[in-house]
């Protein structure tokens, strides 16, 4: 086995050992705190670094370190505009909602986003609908992320002598069960998937939210360091950015102009992406729930600043690195979604390549772990504790939380044995679906006193239905029609993406239906929004009319 491969494996193993040490420390802390608030929300005590890195790492999924580099490698400079709205993503995704959602989360003692909506609007139906829609979309996304994790580990483990024989002997039987699997799958992928799943399910189930946050910090550092180390190495190898851009332009002139090869980024699509990254990113329950977890508003302000610096150091350098990659590695040399690990191995020594390959792996892990907790909190808090069995004992809640997290992970792993083909399509579908469902009800609930429960429900269901309606023809075509096996491309009226229409429908329905229904109860509005004419509440105001 070459020395570089040994160094790569050792540095990667060291990284994983750190992840597990953090999970163990987190589990010890969990024993000393109120279980549910700590397991799903870290007791609302996150400081600046933990908050900023868990926010950034959760947002940066496998797509950022596998899909995005492969898109730059294929389409060139046009990806600078495609990702351009990240210049305002930190201030939008945190600044739009954070202060109000954190304050109302504390006031309403909410742990999840459906929980927040249920209490804000005093509507159990909103909690149930929110929990079920979360489960639907996140389950899709989990499968895609597990597949990405399995593929990254496959790349790494294939260098280990004897790995091929071992997985062929132990997992070869899966090939008979799934004879029509895609060519990139097979025993080497299944082995990678198994190792990945056991690791992520293990530390997430054992350590809960705080383990996820702490490992996010580590993973965020790995991602940032990976990009910043790769940047000078790629520039040196390409002979500088000017030489790289000239070389790329000589290969294909459309790589340096808009709208890119094959009309990659037409004007309406560029507008859609401006909405998608900044606004749709704001509406992800996985990121919104982190806004309920920071300690104080100073943490939030410094968090925006830290995430801003972090994204600036990640996304624009990635564009530069993979424009250089296009100049260094001729198209077709390597499968496009493998360009990140390939570049790491091409330009860096083995020990460094281990850290660089850990970056996409860390990105996938940090997304999977937060999604696992999101689904288990939807089951335990939003469905069991609030609807099915409100008097459930703390001991049962604990067992249910561990059980749900572990079982959801195992289910996602089983589906990922023979997963859908197009990773990025599924990630976009679920991300825009969640935003269409949650953003407007949350935004209206936080900022508009006149918003009503029925209005919020209309916004949630209307946004989700509009989004699904845009995708329905593409799904039918993908699985039943002539486009069988092809990409999933939703309807785009006026060239605008499904998420734009989902958000617009959600906003309009939320406002119109709220105005047509009874205003919300005055005491609740006064508690949540205050009152300019009244300094103190009447004394003795308590004894809740419990539902």
């Amino acid at each position: 086995m070459p020395l570089d491969d040994v160094a790569l494996l050792v540095s990667f193993a060291f990284y994983l050992a750190l992840v597990f040490l953090l999970a163990i420390a987190s589990h010890r802390l969990l024993q000393r705190k109120e279980f549910l608030g700590e397991y799903f929300l870290g007791s609302r005590g996150l400081g600046v670094w933990a908050f900023a890195f868990t926010f950034a790492a959760t947002s940066a999924s496998g797509g950022s370190f596998m899909g995005f580099p492969s898109l730059i490698y294929r389409n060139g400079w046009v990806l600078a505009l495609w990702i351009g709205s990240y210049m305002v993503v930190p201030v939008c995704t945190i600044g739009l909602l954070a202060k109000r959602i954190n304050e109302l989360g504390r006031r309403l003692e909410a742990i999840t986003i459906p929980d927040l909506l249920r209490e804000r609007f005093q509507s159990p139906a909103l909690g149930v609908a929110g929990g079920l829609i979360t489960l639907l979309f996140v389950a899709f996304n989990l499968v895609a992320q597990f597949k990405a994790g399995g593929l990254v580990l496959k790349t790494l483990l294939e260098t280990v002598p004897g790995y091929g024989q071992l997985v062929n002997a132990s997992l070869g039987w899966l090939g008979e069960l799934f004879p029509r699997h895609a060519p990139e799958l097979g025993p080497a992928y299944w082995g990678g998937l198994l190792v990945f799943s056991l690791m992520v399910i293990g530390y997430t189930t054992y350590g809960g939210f705080r383990a996820v946050v702490w490992t996010d910090v580590l993973q965020g550092v790995a991602m940032g360091a990976g990009v910043l180390i790769l940047l000078p190495l790629a520039l040196i190898k390409a002979g500088g950015l000017t030489a790289a851009t000239a070389q790329v332009a000589a290969q294909d002139p459309s790589l340096v102009s808009l709208p890119g090869p094959g009309e990659f980024l037409a004007f309406p699509v560029a507008v859609s992406f401006w909405v998608m990254w900044a606004i749709s990113g704001t509406g992800q329950p996985g990121t919104m729930v982190r806004l309920m977890a920071f300690r104080d508003s100073r943490t939030m302000r410094y968090g925006i600043f830290t995430v801003m610096v972090y994204y600036s150091c990640i996304y624009l350098p990635l564009v530069v690195i993979f424009v250089c990659a296009r100049a260094i590695v001729p198209l077709g040399t390597v499968p496009e979604d493998q360009i990140m690990p390939y570049m790491a191995r091409t330009v860096a020594p083995g020990w460094l390549a281990g850290i660089l390959i850990a970056a996409p792996f860390a990105a996938v892990m940090s997304t999977v772990d937060s999604f696992l907790l999101l689904t288990s909190s939807a089951i335990v808090r939003d469905l069991v504790q609030k609807v099915l069995k409100p008097d459930v004992s703390p001991r049962t809640v604990k067992a249910l939380s561990y059980g749900a997290t572990g079982l959801i992970g195992l289910a996602a792993m089983l589906v990922a044995i023979d997963p859908p083909q197009f990773l990025q399509d599924i990630i976009v579908f679920t991300g825009s679906g969640l935003a269409s469902c949650f953003l407007m009800p949350v935004l209206l609930g936080l900022y508009w006193r006149r918003a009503t429960a029925i209005g919020a429900l209309a916004a949630m269901l209307g946004g989700t239905a509009t989004h699904l309606a845009m995708y329905l023809p593409a799904w039918i075509d993908r699985y039943l029609g002539e486009g069988r096996g092809g990409n999933i491309v939703p309807l785009r009226p006026l060239g605008l993406d499904a998420v734009v229409w989902g958000l617009l429908a959600s906003l309009l329905l939320g406002v119109i239906v709220s105005l047509l229904t009874h205003p919300p109860q005055r005491w609740l509005i006064r508690e949540l929004f205050g009152d300019p004419h009244e300094a103190e509440p009447p004394t003795g105001a308590e004894a809740p009319p419990k539902r």
């Binding site: 400079w77 600078a80 351009g84 709205s85 210049m87 305002v88 201030v91 939008c92 600044g95 739009l96 202060k99 109000r100 304050e103 504390r106 500088g240 000017t242 790289a244 851009t245 000239a246 332009a249 000589a250 002139p253 340096v256 102009s257 808009l258 560029a270 401006w274 900044a278 300690r295 104080d296 508003s297 100073r298 302000r301 925006i304 600043f305 801003m308 600036s312 624009l316 900022y447 006193r449 006149r450 009874h518 205003p519 919300p520 109860q521 005055r522 005491w523 509005i525 006064r526 508690e527 929004f529 205050g530 009152d531 300019p532 004419h533 300094a535 009447p538 105001a541 004894a543 809740p544």
Partner: protein
């Protein structure tokens, strides 16, 4: 109830949050209204020989003026928002909502606003 969590103070904080929300949305819209049209104006359908590379950095002009420069400007504005505009809130003093007791009639009325 502490003075810092009185109804009047909550109202003032809510109004302030609303202003900050509009400022953030305004920044998002202004950045988009600049970056997308300027990038297309400078870079749409250009041949390689028509594209310039400002300051010899190797970045096409449309990406430099349409993405890199506004990115830097947005970072500066974000900095100003974080440390000069967004106001702190005493979140540790926030108390959970306690709904009214039965019969506290004026507090059960519907809000007119």
């Amino acid at each position: 109830m502490s003075q810092r969590d009185s109804y009047r103070e909550r109202w003032r904080r809510y109004r302030r949050s609303l202003v900050e929300m509009w400022l953030v949305l305004g920044l998002w819209a202004a950045a988009g209204l600049y970056a997308v049209p300027v990038s297309f104006w400078l870079g749409h359908g250009k041949r390689p020989e028509e594209i310039t590379y400002p300051f010899g950095l190797g970045i096409p002009d449309w990406a430099f003026w349409g993405v890199f420069v506004p990115w830097a400007v947005c970072n500066v504005i974000t900095l100003v928002l974080c440390f000069g505009v967004i106001e702190d809130v005493p979140l540790s003093e926030v108390r959970p909502v306690r709904p009214p007791k039965q019969g506290d009639s004026h507090r059960d009325q519907h809000s007119a606003s």
